[in-house]
C-alpha cells in the first residue's frame, strides 16, 4: 500500500514544476499562431521573444518567468478518498519542496516578518486552497501559480443590476483598457458574474483553468465569451502593449446566481504565461496526469 500523503506531496511538487516550466499546449499554440499572424515588426519581435523563451524553459526545465507567482491549488476530493485534511499538509510540504527544487522564486511576504523564503505564508492562507467535495474515491489536484504583475490589474465591481449584461461587458472592456500594456499581454481573461463580492473573483480565477477555445456549455454564455474576445481585441493593446498582434487570447466566464440587489463582476487577467497543471490520484495512490 502506497503512502497516499507522500504520493500527494510528490505529485503536487511535480505539478508545480510542470506549471512553472511548460505552458499548456493550447496556450503554446496560440502564442505561436500569434507570432505567425502578427504583421508589425515590434509585435512580432515581442511574440518571437516569448516563444523563444518558452522553448528554453521546456528544454532546460526552468521557470519560464522569474515571477513564479503565488501558488493556488484547486482540489476536488472524493467522498471515499482516504485522506482529507492531510491533503492540505501534503500540499504545503510540496510548495516548500518545489520552491527549493524547481526553483521557484520565494514570493510569500509577511507584512510584518518579511519574505518567508518558501512560498508558504505564516498565517495559513498561502498557498490558497479551493476545496470541493465530489462523489467517488479520487482526488484531483490542479496547481496554478499566478504572477504579481497580472494580479495587480485584476478588478471587481458591484454593478447596478439594472445595467444587466451590457454593464458586465462594459466593465470587462474598462478593466482590460486599464490593464493596457502593464501585465504582459497577450492576456487570457477570466470573468466571474454573480455570487457575491468574493465569489465573483473566485469564479473569474477558476474560469482561467478552462482550456483555451473551449467555450461555456451554456450557448448563451459561450456567445458572450466569443463576443468579448472579439471586442477586447479591438482595444489594440497588442503583444506587450505595443499595439501590434493579439491583445487577448481568450475570454472565459462563469456565472453564479446573484442577489436581486447586486450584480458583482470579477475580472481576473492572466499574462501570456497562463500556467497550470493537474493530476488525479486514486485511493490506491495511482497518479493520472492530465493532458498538458
Amino acid at each position: 500500500m502506497k503512502d497516499i500523503a507522500q504520493v500527494i506531496e510528490d505529485t503536487a511538487t511535480r505539478l508545480l514544476k510542470i506549471a512553472a516550466t511548460e505552458l499548456p499546449s493550447e496556450v503554446r499554440e496560440a502564442l505561436l499562431k500569434g507570432e505567425r499572424e502578427t504583421e508589425g515588426a515590434l509585435g512580432k519581435s515581442q511574440l518571437h521573444a516569448i516563444n523563444e523563451n518558452v522553448n528554453i524553459a521546456e528544454t532546460q526545465i526552468k521557470p519560464m518567468c522569474q515571477d513564479t507567482g503565488i501558488v493556488a491549488f484547486f482540489i476536488k476530493v472524493g467522498d471515499k478518498f482516504p485522506l482529507k485534511s492531510e491533503i492540505k499538509t501534503a500540499l504545503i510540504k510540496a510548495t516548500k519542496r518545489a520552491t527549493a527544487a524547481v526553483p521557484l522564486r520565494p514570493n510569500a511576504v509577511d507584512m510584518f516578518k518579511g519574505n518567508t523564503k518558501n512560498n508558504v505564508g505564516l498565517r495559513g492562507y498561502v498557498p490558497w486552497f479551493y476545496f470541493d467535495l465530489v462523489e467517488g474515491d479520487r482526488c484531483e489536484i490542479i496547481a496554478m501559480p499566478k504572477g504579481g504583475g497580472s494580479s495587480n490589474v485584476g478588478k471587481m465591481k458591484m454593478i447596478p443590476p439594472g445595467k444587466g449584461i451590457k454593464g458586465v461587458k462594459e466593465f470587462v472592456v474598462e478593466a482590460l483598457a486599464a490593464a493596457g500594456p502593464l501585465a504582459c499581454p497577450p492576456y487570457t481573461v477570466g470573468v466571474g458574474v454573480g455570487g457575491g463580492e468574493d465569489m465573483c473573483m473566485n469564479l473569474a480565477k477558476k474560469a482561467l483553468l478552462r482550456p483555451l477555445y473551449k467555450y461555456h456549455e451554456d450557448p448563451s454564455i459561450a456567445q458572450i465569451e466569443k463576443e468579448l474576445l472579439e471586442i477586447l481585441n479591438k482595444l489594440e493593446i497588442g503583444a506587450m502593449g505595443l499595439g501590434e498582434g493579439p491583445s487577448v487570447l481568450d475570454v472565459h466566464m462563469e456565472f453564479a446566481a446573484r442577489h436581486p440587489a447586486s450584480l458583482p463582476v470579477g475580472v481576473v487577467i492572466s499574462c501570456w504565461a497562463l500556467r497550470h497543471a493537474g493530476a488525479t490520484i486514486d485511493k490506491e495512490g495511482n497518479v493520472e496526469w492530465h493532458p498538458h
Partner: protein, 198 residues
C-alpha cells in the same frame, strides 16, 4: 532600426536612438527594483556613494531567481523584467542623481521619467515581459551582488555582464517621445469607440 550599444553608453549613441527602435546592449547591467532605488537615493541625499557607479550603464527593473552553483558562484536561473510603473515615483530623481544610460523594464514609464530622460540623456527599453530565460541566456557573468542580506534576492543589486542583451524595444527616447503613452492613448480612444457601440 536596430542599435548595438556598449556600456558606458556615450551620450551621442543614446541620441541616435528613437522610440520604436530596437537595442541590443552589451556591458554592465545592474538590477534595481523599488527597495534598491529607495536605498540608493537615501545614500545620495546623505552624500554617500552607492557600491555601484550607475553612470552610462543599464539599469534593469528585475527581481531575478538566482542559485549558487557547485563552486559557490552565483548563477542566473531566471531574470525577466518587472513592472516599471512602480519605479515612476522616483525614477526621475534616480536618473538625475546617477545618470544611467538605459533603463530596462516592462510596461513602460510615465511623464516624469520621460522628462528626466530628455533632460539627462537617458533612454528606456522594454524587455519582453516574462521572457526570463531569454534574459538569463544573454547574461554572461554575475560580477557582483550588493545589499543581498538587507534587501533579499529580488530587491538587491545584482551586477551582470551582458552580451547583446535584448531585443529591447525603446519606448522612451532622449527627445521626449514615449511609445507606451501613445499606445495607451490609442487604447483609451478604442475603448470609447467600443463602449459607444455596445
Amino acid at each position: 532600426m536596430e542599435h548595438y550599444l556598449t556600456t558606458p553608453i556615450p551620450q551621442e549613441d543614446l541620441k541616435k536612438v528613437k522610440i520604436g527602435d530596437i537595442v541590443y546592449l552589451s556591458g554592465t547591467v545592474v538590477t534595481a527594483r523599488d527597495e534598491a532605488h529607495l536605498k540608493a537615493l537615501e545614500m545620495y541625499e546623505k552624500g554617500e556613494e552607492p557600491p555601484v557607479n550607475f553612470k552610462g550603464i543599464g539599469l534593469f527593473h528585475c527581481g531575478p531567481v538566482m542559485q549558487k552553483d557547485e563552486n559557490d558562484k552565483w548563477t542566473v536561473v531566471a531574470a525577466g523584467p518587472t513592472t516599471s510603473a512602480r519605479m515612476e515615483i522616483f525614477q526621475d530623481e534616480f536618473i538625475k542623481a546617477f545618470h544611467p544610460g538605459m533603463i530596462i523594464g516592462k510596461g513602460g514609464m510615465g511623464a516624469r521619467t520621460t522628462k528626466a530622460c530628455q533632460e539627462e540623456t537617458c533612454i528606456y527599453g522594454y524587455f519582453t515581459g516574462g521572457a526570463a530565460l531569454l534574459a538569463a541566456d544573454r547574461i554572461k557573468e554575475v560580477k557582483d551582488v550588493f545589499w543581498l542580506e538587507e534587501l533579499g534576492m529580488p530587491e538587491c543589486l545584482w551586477v551582470y555582464e551582458v552580451e547583446k542583451f535584448g531585443p529591447l524595444t525603446v519606448t522612451i527616447d532622449t527627445y521626449g517621445g514615449n511609445l507606451t503613452e501613445e499606445s495607451k492613448k490609442n487604447i483609451e480612444a478604442k475603448k470609447v469607440e467600443i463602449l459607444k457601440e455596445l
